[in-house]
């Protein structure tokens, strides 16, 4: 996998990043991008366009993949702009540095950063544009702009009762100097922010009109499906295509060094053609890699010296006395399993290429397709789409590169699609992790804590400046800045790349691993200290009032301490602050005689700072919690003979509606900077579940997915 050129993120200050944490709040000095549109349209910055026809168009710097971000970002812009929200039109951003995510310095949507990163810049952009429109109207009326106000895409002069639509003053506004430090609204002046607003993207998702990348249909498009070597890193040996060619509608067979694609007049003929191919693969060096080896290598690596990510106080002194506890926690590889399988449509014409796809990194898609086709970057046009699930998979551009290499061999536009099996087996996987933790307890409180994380570094490839001195800023996120303020702390990281298996970001990123570990281990310590897990956590949270309040609310709403309806049920809690949000989650789960688990209820309390669209926050938490449960209950990719053993939803299970618990989400009002919410539920669910299972059975699960055999036949604790 290629390294991303460091030049594009050269402005990123490592110190700033470290201070913020990969998922922390950090805004690089952000200047409003300059207007680029010409003519009579008012385009004061990269995000706002006002036409003479009164149409206000908002250009979305982050992609919509279900998290409701188009609505949230549009609300922020429209609120400060005083635009008529019902009439604003949203546009996907083209590849352009003007839309870089200020936290990453890359045009990317991920890490639950969208609102955190764009809250300030979009407010300024909206307020500045509003100021210019007001100024233009005031000039036209020869009145003092301070006597005018704006509302619903109109400037109003109350004294004279005059009103003018934004469109009518757009041309004049375009000649004015941008207001560089505009006056922003105060919280109480917001008309959209903080209210539940109907999402902009959902109506077309009820009637088949919404277009995802897989729905792109450029005129004359052909349909291709791809087969990659099932063994990671393997190559194509020999292809016998006689039978495939005989199938009516099969148009072409493209053989590249590492994959084969069949092009047909429909996806179905392409699938049939692919099945009819007889491909011999040169499996290469990885043909014998299996899961047992991978785990052994990881555990061996975990013994080596670690790079210190965080050191507080004197850990050795803290461990000199007190009661000591030790634990080891491990997490498996996971696939993303986005509902929309990987796909990319391209039209290559010797000197240019047009691309249609849904991506979290449109700038990188443009750059890497250009490289793959040996074209100047400006000759590659990329159209972004609504995304049928990202979860980190579409933070990569590997699929676009492969599709481009195929499209280069095809005359006319071609849609390259990965069948579900190929999608599952050629993912970039959430890394396997090994965690060694220890704690020293004196007088009922944890006084010393060590946490050593061993696993692959995704950052080193994806955002190189955020990897330095052996520490991956994401891998230690949540551990180095653990919520409990332990007075003596040492957190180490050991980079250990698994043989053969490519790794990538997966919803919840580093905090997934770290909070599973921390929240399982602290629960274990509370139990062994014979202290209620809620009380034990609260003891350590005097310095973290927001998390404390979330735990208290979750415990209250989750009926903590009350008797459950069945002796086979247990109740567990987890708490975390990550992604700038504070969440506590109470889980009720039941274990039957055979070890099968039923999750009955999840109750979450969350403080995510200022809320833009509260209903979206609830929805993201509901969905995120389910996503986390799926991982905890079922998620594991295993390797044998260098290949992934899972293939489709039959053997890579996703939670279904009849298995879904009741979920309650309680929002805690706040005036703090907005936090991230896309991943918050995902990282919260697994430890809450495992702690509930412990309460039900007395079995402490230290690995995911849950081991039903370990739970089977256990008496209630």
């Amino acid at each position: 996998m290629e390294k991303i050129a460091t030049s594009e993120i050269s402005k990123l200050s490592r110190r700033a990043l470290l201070q913020a944490g990969a998922a922390g709040i950090l805004l690089l000095s952000f200047r409003l991008p300059q207007a680029r549109a010409a003519g009579d349209t008012f385009a004061p910055n990269a995000f706002i366009r006002v036409g003479n026809d009164d149409v206000v168009t908002l250009v979305m710097p982050q992609v919509e993949m279900g998290q409701g971000i188009y609505t949230a970002l549009a609300m922020i812009l429209a609120d400060e702009l005083d635009a008529n929200f019902d009439k604003v039109v949203l546009q996907h951003a083209p590849p352009d540095k003007a839309y870089n995510n200020p936290i990453f310095g890359v045009q990317a949507t991920g890490g639950s950063t969208s609102v955190r990163a764009f809250w300030d810049p979009l407010r300024k952009a909206g307020a500045s544009a509003r100021g210019m429109l007001v100024e233009a109207a005031a000039q036209q009326w020869s009145v003092d702009p301070s006597t005018c106000r704006a509302s619903n895409s109109e400037v109003i002069h109350d004294a004279s009762g005059r009103k003018v639509g934004y469109g009518a003053v757009a041309s004049l506004a375009a000649t004015l100097k941008p207001v560089s430090d505009p006056k922003l609204k105060t919280l109480k002046d917001f008309t959209l922010v903080g209210r539940p607003v109907q999402r902009k993207d959902t109506p077309d998702k009820t009637n088949g009109k919404c277009q995802y990348g897989i729905d792109a249909m450029p005129a004359g498009v052909k349909f291709a499906v791809i087969a990659e070597c099932p063994v990671f890193g393997g190559k194509v040996g020999h292809v016998d295509d006689a039978k495939a060619k005989a199938i009516k509608g099969v148009q072409q067979i493209v053989v590249l060094d590492d994959c084969v694609a069949v092009v047909g007049d429909t996806t179905w003929t392409a699938i049939r053609g692919l099945s009819a191919l007889d491909i011999t693969w040169n499996e290469g060096a990885n043909a014998n890699v299996d899961s047992a080896q991978i785990w052994e290598a990881l555990r061996t690596a975990s013994k080596g010296p670690g790079a210190v990510a965080k050191k507080v106080g004197d850990v050795d002194a803290a461990f000199a006395g007190g009661t000591h506890y030790e634990g080891v926690y491990e997490l498996p590889f996971l696939a993303h399993a986005t509902m929309e399988p990987l796909n990319c449509t391209l039209h290559y014409t010797k000197d240019a290429c047009e691309v249609w796809t849904g991506t979290q990194v449109i700038g990188r898609v443009q750059e890497y397709v250009a490289k793959a086709l040996d074209l100047p970057i400006e000759k590659v046009t990329v159209h972004n789409f609504y995304i049928g699930g990202g979860f980190g998979r579409r933070l990569e551009q590997d699929m676009a590169i492969k599709a481009a290499r195929i499209a280069k061999e095809v005359d006319g536009p071609v849609k390259v699609m990965w069948r579900r099996e190929e999608d599952t087996q050629h993912d970039v996987y959430r890394p396997v992790y090994h965690n060694a933790v220890s704690a020293s307890v004196k007088d009922g409180k944890i006084v010393g804590w060590t946490h050593r994380i061993t696993g692959s570094s995704v950052i080193v490839r994806w955002l190189p400046p955020a990897f330095k001195d052996g520490v991956d800023i994401d891998a230690v996120d949540g551990a180095a800045d653990q919520p409990y303020g332990f007075p003596n702390l040492k957190v180490e990281y050991i980079r250990a790349e698994p043989p053969a298996v490519p790794t990538g970001f997966w919803r919840g990123v580093g905090p997934n691993n770290n909070f599973f570990t921390i929240e399982s281990f602290i629960d274990e310590i509370a139990h062994r200290e014979k202290v209620d897990p809620v009380a034990f956590r609260l003891r350590h949270l005097d310095g973290n009032p927001r998390l404390k309040a979330a735990i208290q609310l979750a415990a209250e709403k989750g009926n903590w301490g009350s008797t459950l309806s069945s002796p086979r049920m247990g109740r567990g809690i987890s708490a975390q602050n990550a992604f700038g949000s504070f969440i506590a989650t109470v889980c009720e789960a039941e274990v039957d005689e055979s070890g099968e688990v039923r999750v009955h209820r999840l109750v979450a309390a969350v403080d995510t700072g200022i809320m833009v669209n509260p209903d979206t926050i609830v929805a993201q938490l509901e969905g995120g919690l389910i996503f986390g449960l799926t991982a905890a209950l079922f998620g594991e990719i295993t390797i044998e003979n260098g290949r992934v053993q899972q293939s489709n939803f039959n053997d890579y299970r996703i939670l279904r509606i009849d298995e879904a618990p009741k979920i309650e989400v309680h929002l805690i009002p706040s005036t703090e900077h907005p936090g991230g919410i896309g991943e918050t539920g995902t990282t919260a669910a697994p430890p809450a579940l495992c702690n509930a299972l412990f309460a039900a059975t007395g079995v402490r699960l230290t690995r995911l997915p849950i081991d039903r055999n370990a739970l089977a036949g256990r008496k209630p604790a």
């Binding site: 009637n207 088949g208 007049d265 429909t266 929309e340 799926t630 279904r656 509606i657």
Partner: protein, 150 residues
């Protein structure tokens, strides 16, 4: 040439009879609202109605459809029950990425057409074949109940 009756209109489809209805709809007729998710009857993203029954279109060849009436997500809003389901879906803001939701709405509409007042068990049974990776299940349950009350 095979004639398919989709959303009340006849369409001539020039594709081999073994072609799954899913791919005929998407690739030949350009009706892309019906989605591909798994191809093996595991996810329900491809759900359409054939003579009023919810069917996985990835498993049904066009050669076997005959004269039966096909309804897709593009046409479901013209039935009463379909429109109610769509409205409930928006009122409760069920949808996240939306990729599974064509199938969810088609399954829910078929359920309500046959059982106007389903129990929780009926809902689970009718909807368990539709995976939602974004985890919208809690709202799907509520929205189905809301559509029945409408």
């Amino acid at each position: 040439m095979i004639t398919l009756h989709v959303n009340g209109q006849p369409h001539d489809v020039d594709a081999s009879p073994d072609t799954p209805l899913l791919w005929a709809l998407r690739d030949v007729l350009g009706m892309t609202g019906t989605k591909f998710g798994c191809g093996i009857a595991q996810c329900g993203a491809c759900t359409v109605h054939v003579d009023g029954q919810a069917v996985r279109s990835c498993q049904l060849s066009i050669g076997s459809v005959g004269d039966q009436a096909i309804t897709t997500i593009e046409g479901i809003g013209s039935s009463d029950v379909g429109a109610k389901v769509q409205k409930a879906w928006l009122d409760l803001e069920v949808i996240q990425c939306g990729y599974c939701q064509s199938g969810q709405i088609m399954s829910a509409a078929a359920l309500l057409a046959h059982k106007p007042h389903p129990t929780d068990e009926d809902i689970d049974a009718a909807m368990a074949g539709n995976i939602c990776r974004c985890g919208t299940y809690v709202r799907i349950r509520e929205a189905i109940k809301k559509a029945t009350a409408a």
